[in-house]
Symmetry: C2
Amino acid sequence: MSWLTASYLVTCAERDIAARADGIASEQSVECPVEAITEQRILDEIVARVTAIEPAGPGRFRVDVAIAAQTIGANPVQFINMVFGNASLWDDVSFVALEVPEDVLARFPGPRHGIAGIRRLLGAPDRALTNAAMKPQGLHVPELAAMCRTFALAGVDMIKDDHGIDDQGYSPFAERVRACQAAIAEAVAATGKPALYAPNLIGTPRVLRERARIAREEGVRAVLVAPMLVGLPAFFDLVDEFPDFVYLAHPSFGGARAIAPELLFGRLLRLFGSDAVIFVNVGGRFGYTRATCAALANGARAPWGNLRATLPVPAGGMRMERIEELLEFYGPDSMLLIGGNLLIEHSRVLERTREFVERVAAHRYSVRTPN
Amino acid sequence: MSWLTASYLVTCAERDIAARADGIASEQSVECPVEAITEQRILDEIVARVTAIEPAGPGRFRVDVAIAAQTIGANPVQFINMVFGNASLWDDVSFVALEVPEDVLARFPGPRHGIAGIRRLLGAPDRALTNAAMKPQGLHVPELAAMCRTFALAGVDMIKDDHGIDDQGYSPFAERVRACQAAIAEAVAATGKPALYAPNLIGTPRVLRERARIAREEGVRAVLVAPMLVGLPAFFDLVDEFPDFVYLAHPSFGGARAIAPELLFGRLLRLFGSDAVIFVNVGGRFGYTRATCAALANGARAPWGNLRATLPVPAGGMRMERIEELLEFYGPDSMLLIGGNLLIEHSRVLERTREFVERVAAHRYSVRTPN
């Protein structure tokens, strides 16, 4: 018998925590009063059980719940249902950690390329990588393609669509992907330095598949997908059907109030197959702490069964001034993503981007182990 | 030019609210510094704009943002991305309301059956409806089928799988659906009263489609799906591909911290095609207030463009004692779902369920307009 352990933070009075913990265990397994269960087998093998309750600050507790692997079977969606389905509906419960036994972990292929695969494609065996975003949406295709070419000429490793760029009239998907991929190919031919264009795949599962085919036909090797937005299950299917793409996960719709960011972005998206994961960096436009970002990046890279390592991509209001600080913090197994900050001096985008690339390549790390 | 209005609650100091509101407008459209935008067309037609800021309690503000319909196009997933993509990542922002112009609303067929269609299938033109859940997971197929038969003999309108029942070894999907559908058909033949079995569809998009085909072949007319769990986009595709099913939405993984429950369950799930929507009822195992539940139920039923009305299904720890109170509160355009509470006296499930059905049918409403 194999059991997963899911951990939750619960805000409540000390006298209530035992009952709350039992409530979570019921909700995440049989979801009915124990009195309604007459079969001993179900009580022994199916009902989830509380294995630990520990204080986690004033009025807060960490609860570990063992969940029977047989309730999950081999279905990745049922996996999410059983670790954080109904419990996500409580305002005072968040899902913060997960231990997956080897036999369950072995059902997940995880990233098909991971950090090592991305490094191979880019011919960059050890330095930190760079990423730039094409913004704003509303630009027409020739302007986007020109921006793509500029970034590639400056030596950026990966160039992604802004996550708001879909298939709008001003930049239709097929036309844009063809033009941007061609612009990158041209720049790569000129400089001899590899670069990847990552178009944004967004839509229902049928639309995702159709666009993935178009991208593949155009020779695209990397794609941007927001797994929480397109749905973790659709993301899982997409990775399975199109394993040749490098998957760069975008955090859109990933509202992390209910799932700890380090768990959602650092672990679950890795389990579901992200090769690289964009997250909102400490000190940017969002409120993640240093500790959260460190835990997230380390979770994405740490050994975890046979899953490949996922590349952390800090983003969200990144400024040039912070390049060295962030390299020290995240180390070379990372990809820095600068968005709007590359574009603020309109006549100097090439120079500014080149400076970004060069500062990342030139950095000498003062510590061997980041964060 | 057509604009949606999305409304957010923001917790912050009064001196910061103008900047926070501008930040949301940027995040939900161009996601870059305005200085980086040189084209007047983009500034005029693409950048979202703050249209109102109002106090909403101490240290809280309601912010209305107009979002250009052309940034959304005809893609339902991009719709979610533009109304609450990156903004979902802020802990102090929640998405609480939405106004959709008619031309955008017309792109969404919404529920294919809705309240009127469910009533027709059940031959129940005006009374409140009843729903019972098969629990606990872990039961074998003959036991589940027997429970299905018992509930149908007692006269329950809709009988659903527990949302934890997937395709596990103890109750494989195809075998279970065949047996439960046959058990219901047998009971319906005996009583002459229609009943719907709603098996749980859970999996990646490919699995959903495969199971929907099996269910359709077995003559199933209603299905249970957790849209936030399988992903809103996969749900949208499923409804489109299998329009003959009545879709009963389950709230699993719908952690409502970032999206107001009345908006997520009352509006977004209707927009995406739920005919009936299960939500966690006030006074049950979850913390929704009376006001939230009333707003949710009313949002599901209120006129909204040409969208059919969605049937509210209060659930989550419902007890027999509350039947009359809840009928008064929700009115007859509702379906009461009782789960474990029907099963607590093991030898009297048929009698207890019959009482549930009869009390719902016999209720005389003291008020004409619920909640």
